[in-house]
Homo-oligomer: 353 residues x 2
């Protein structure tokens, strides 16, 4: 029986996770999906109480017993520089080698698209963000700190193994889903070492997929084109930092962070533990106001169910999310007037019906 | 008499520079501005002919005699990885210590703004991009190249001096232009060393400008907000790489790269040599078709004239560019039907009239 570890986290994290949990409860009790839920007390509250972030015993138990982790959001203004958030988030992404951060940039309704003369069908791409290296390794240092001569360095570390497996995941996904093009974004015209590897590796891997067009873009051009005309983009592969930037920009095209879901997976082995999180953060200003949009967390549950083998449920959840937008059964960030809880009530009813 | 070194460069570079030159000729011959023009034969053609990029004697003469450099665009598919372009572009930016790359993101007409429910007045910000360090120093290397164990690294190198002077330029500009807010974008939640310096330095410098609000953003959030609602942004300060990304995204909000001008300056000393370039590239597919939009190069000339002391001309050139858009005297990329040359004919006539 698949065990799902749930980390509600901080801010609106627990608010949306409470609703995502109701969706999971529906599948468990009304559809008899064999699912075990394991609630983990990790996040800012816990860290402020006793300094715990992601203890080794917990990580080990997740590794040995869980099939998936569902994460709400992390980040709390009371924790200086949010060290707990990084420990937990990167502990999961790096610690479980979840090298592909899959972030669908898909608009569910025309009115969510902020661009003139574009409709929902124009915004439909899957971004594969490298999730275990790049600038996120946080290798570097500060020298002569606090003096006029201070130097501060971070290294963008890329390995053939890391770059290749992420690029390959993008092509495999394209092949499996009938996509015609994979775009790769780098800044190889400025970063001659790190991104020359991306450039070279991209076209090498592409040779193994003769039916799929491989197109290279500089990241600055990609951001421009995503706004000018997002229609050509089907699958995008890129490094950790650019994936972060491009998917937040992508969220704007989808109607905001309240609509953006993500899966962190070890793509080559679908049986391995994976981690699922809505792209949004803990959003302190929204806390306690029943304003958080739960749809991103529902679609994140959809991605998780697909990963666990129930692929039709992902499509079904997405369809009901689109209906929520169309019928106004949604929160104010996406043009509705309902609260978090009322949207979820409606959503679970629709799931049942 | 100010000497202007002109480097037309590659692709559409020479096409737009020929038109920018006509504007300069108008100021020289009809308005009697004391301007000397010096045409430099540098770019892909020259590099392919004899391997020359930016020779030391030329750089020295520019340094000793010129008041400004006007650059068209660099980049040619015939030059592997465009080494000539980097040599020349970074030779000018780094070599003359032009640490502030000022890129106005300003929409001149409502119809150029690609966002629903936004008008030209909503898009009006000045981006200060650090221009002499960051990931562009290209420090790093490749190890075990071509093997499965390859590692490729680029370092993001930031100095207190470099970060502080760029941030200070942003606040000085805000003060001089009555702007109320300066935003700084970094990724200090992931790059704990390099961007912690940016974060710390930003709020330290901000203390010296008590009348101006200092606001910090992560770069991913900035890209999202620029699309969701660009109105709060007046002045943005950021590092070299993020400045590159944000200003291409910004160009999309202005109506495309054909509308984006830039100045590369040593901000603290306005008497020093500066370099001016439209943000667009050499655009090989447009070459020879009379399709290149010359307006970005005209506004770039405007920034140059302001730098040389003729501030009113910058505003005048911008006004006529806005009129070109309003009256359809513009190229197809901005909704017109005219060619490069016809737009320039109209433009120079309007300058005269
Ligand atoms: C919180 C932050 C470190 C994180 C990231 O940059 O990965 C977030 O922006 C995300 O996209 O998940
Ligand atoms: C050509 C490239 C190296 C350059 C840069 O990244 O600076 C360009 O994109 C720019 O913005 O001027």
């Amino acid at each position: 029986m698949p065990l799902i570890a749930i980390i509600p986290g901080d801010g609106i994290g627990p608010e949306v996770m409470a609703q995502a949990r109701r969706v999971l409860e529906y599948y468990r009790s009304e559809r008899n999906f064999p699912l075990d839920l394991w609630d983990l007390d990790l996040g800012a509250e816990r860290f402020l109480r006793d300094g715990t972030t992601l203890p080794k015993e917990v990580a080990d138990r997740i590794r040995n017993e869980a099939s998936a982790v569902l994460l709400g959001a992390l980040g709390d203004p009371r924790v200086p520089s949010n060290e707990h958030a990084r420990d937990i988030l990167f502990g999961l992404r790096f610690g479980f080698d979840l090298y592909a951060n899959m972030r669908p940039v898909k608009a569910l309704a025309d009115r969510l698209v902020p661009l003139k003369n574009r409709t929902a069908k124009d915004v439909n791409m899957m971004v594969f963000r490298e999730n275990t290296e790049g600038i996120y390794v946080n290798v570097g240092g500060q020298f002569k700190k606090g003096t006029p001569d201070e130097i501060a360095i971070n290294e963008d570390v890329n390995t053939r193994k890391g770059v290749e497996r992420l690029i390959r995941a993008g092509f495999e996904y394209a092949k499996a889903h009938g996509k015609k093009t994979v775009h790769m974004a780098d800044k190889s015209n400025a970063m001659k070492h790190a991104h020359e590897l991306w450039y070279r590796c991209f076209f090498e891997v592409a040779k193994e997929y003769p039916g799929i067009a491989a197109k290279h873009l500089y990241v600055d051009a990609l951001c421009l084109f995503m706004v000018q005309d997002p229609t050509p983009f089907e699958v995008i592969v890129t490094n950790n930092l650019f994936g972060d930037i491009v998917t937040d920009l992508g969220a704007a095209l989808q109607g905001g962070l309240g609509m953006a879901a993500s899966a962190n997976v070890h793509y080559a082995d679908p049986k391995r533990l994976a981690m699922f999180e809505p792209v949004h953060g803990s959003a302190p200003p929204l806390v306690g106001k029943d304003l958080a949009n739960p749809l991103a967390s529902f679609m994140t549950v959809g991605m998780m169910l697909a990963h666990l083998g129930w692929k039709e449920e992902e499509a079904r959840i997405e369809r009901i999310c689109a209906e929520a937008i169309e019928t106004g059964n949604c929160t104010p960030d996406v043009g509705g007037t309902k609260g978090t809880k009322a949207v979820s009530d409606w959503f679970v009813d629709r799931l049942k019906g």
